[in-house]
Amino acid sequence: MSLGEKLMSIPKWVLYLILIVVASVPLFIKIPVPNTPLEPAIDLYGTLMNIPEGSTVLIASDWTKSTRGESNGHFDALMKILMRKKIKACIYSSGDPQAPQVARDAIGVLNMERKAKGLPPYQRWNDWITVGYFPNAEACANAIANNVRVAFGGKTDYTPEGTSRDVFQSPVLKDIRKVSDFKLMMVITASKTSNITIERVYGKGVDLAMMVTGVMGPESLPYYSSGQLKGLAVGLKGVYDLEQMLESGITPGMSAKWGTVPGFPGDSNIGNGTRYYPTLHFCLTLLILAVIVGNVGMALSRKKAA
């Protein structure tokens, strides 16, 4: 078998083995990665940072452990901003029955961090509530667009005293009459709930922004460029962009639109982005190498044939 043919027919399991190594080793080494945030992510950060203190945002948290890699990073970055800017959050989910619990756990972890730094916790019922899971995403989006009071009607959450009460009695939702009373509607998703929400909620007077996994990125981008989305963070790159801006904010020259927006330097801004992004480079490099090797092999064997 000629070299060309060899290069063209590397057994799959060899490739797989190499990938495992490449995806593991760099995790143990700290490698700073230079980076410039993308425009949709900058817009997202700017939009979030311009939400007035004390107002409420509506969050559709439609991710679970299976996309933890990206979505958890998105969620943490978002929550860090809300917590530090004292913005209230109402979390619902139409993506997966587990999503509410996953979100609660994620907030728990962040509160742990705050506790460690001696900061007041981001308190359930007073600062944030979960209205739970809605099995039919379309219906849910429609209901929210039509009448939030009905959509979330009868839903309860737990007060710090541990009693369950109607969510609309909570400080988070007490002033909410319709969806446009939310300062922003944020969709964090790994599935089509992004499109479903846009189709039904867009134009109801509430700004929409999204954090989607790399896969949903291409599908969501048209909505961003058509102005239906105020901001968009896509995949791990989006997470890394946000974490970078959390640290250093939007610096002049980065965006003509936002000018300068402060960050939270020195705060605990490290998340999945910073953890995984370096490793991602190695994996992508491997992918590119594999493609090159394949083509070189083809070229060689062609030459041989000729």
Partner: protein
């Protein structure tokens, strides 16, 4: 002020709100009209679609090897047109397989899909007069959990060594799992995802791929049913309508913005009313153009209607109770 607005007016028809219903109606008319045309025996042309011709070949090969044909009608939560469409194509596949008495396997993602699948495939066997040959277990419910389904199907693929695979319908991340697994056992693959984001992976890993609405064209092409052919022609008219609308919009906007020298405006439309621009004229933006305002309805906050209040109604001031 505006209580004289007739209740026939309709919230969704205010301002330029009539555009969405009108446009949708037009599209529906195109489709129905052409279905009629086809019904009246007018034979309408459809161009050939690469990939569909491969179906017979694929099934034939499976028969030679005496191995099953595996089909997955997508991962829709419940039955919808996409599933039905996929099953229409599969019934064509199943018919060939039945004639060669070749084993088939339909893996269903949800119970409703399973229900329809049973129905459709059994009908095919009955129509072929092979009702007794039909094995109810050839249409299976695997799991309605995305990756459990993926694991299950690849398990079946590897164990049954399927010779031809058809993945058609709504596919998401798992598309590549199926495609690569099938590839690893050397099966012929014909695939199609209504999710444009998944198509590239099918293209990379499968032998034949139906892109975009070639999927919807497929059954018309295969069965030549007048209704389907007609509707396909109608869909073309719809696409042309959309294309034309976009084109007109492009030209209109280009002209309105003032080619060569940017126009200024002294009036702008706000809350469905034209008002003078504060602080003198400003450069016109794409949002000020006729076409874009035609496509974005504005609502007038001053439009209020007085209605009697239900005596038993308690306003939800306390926030609770609803």
């Amino acid at each position: 002020m505006l209580s004289q607005v007739s209740s026939w007016r309709g919230e969704q028809y205010l301002d330029t709100g009539w555009v969405p219903p009108a446009f949708t109606l037009l599209l529906c008319i195109w489709v129905l009209l052409n279905i009629r045309r086809a019904g009246t025996g007018k034979d309408l042309f459809i161009r050939r679609i690469a990939g569909l011709n491969a179906i017979d070949e694929a099934v034939g090969r499976a028969t030679e090897m005496g191995k099953p044909v595996l089909m997955v009608p997508g991962l829709s939560d419940t039955v919808n047109a996409i599933v039905v469409q996929a099953l229409n194509i599969f019934s064509y596949v199943a018919r060939i397989a039945a004639r060669f008495s070749n084993p088939i396997l339909v893996c269903c993602y949800s119970a409703p899909i399973f229900t329809v699948g049973q129905e459709v495939i059994r009908d095919v066997y009955n129509e072929e007069g092979l009702g007794d040959k039909f094995d109810p277990d050839s249409v299976r419910f695997i799991s309605d959990r995305q990756f459990a389904f993926a694991a299950g199907v690849s398990g079946i693929l590897l164990r049954e060594k399927a010779a031809a695979t058809f993945f058609m319908g709504e596919f998401y991340a798992e598309s590549l799992i199926f495609a690569e697994t099938a590839n690893s056992i050397g099966a012929i693959q014909i695939a199609s995802s209504t999710e444009s984001t998944q198509t590239p992976f099918f293209i990379a890993a499968c032998d034949y791929v139906l892109i975009g609405d070639e999927f919807y064209a497929a059954s018309a092409y295969l069965t030549r049913q007048p209704v389907l052919v007609g509707s396909l022609v109608g869909q073309d008219w719809c696409k042309l309508t959309v294309a034309l609308t976009v084109l007109i919009g492009v030209l209109a906007n280009t002209i309105q913005l003032g080619p060569g020298s940017h126009k200024m405006i002294t009036q702008e439309k706000r809350d469905a009313k034209f008002v003078n621009v504060e602080g003198g004229p400003r450069p016109i933006t794409p949002d000020d153009t006729f076409m874009s305002q035609l496509f974005r309805k504005q609502s007038d906050p001053e439009l209020v209607i007085e209605r009697p209040i239900d005596p038993t109604f308690v306003p939800p001031a306390d926030g609770g109770g609803e």
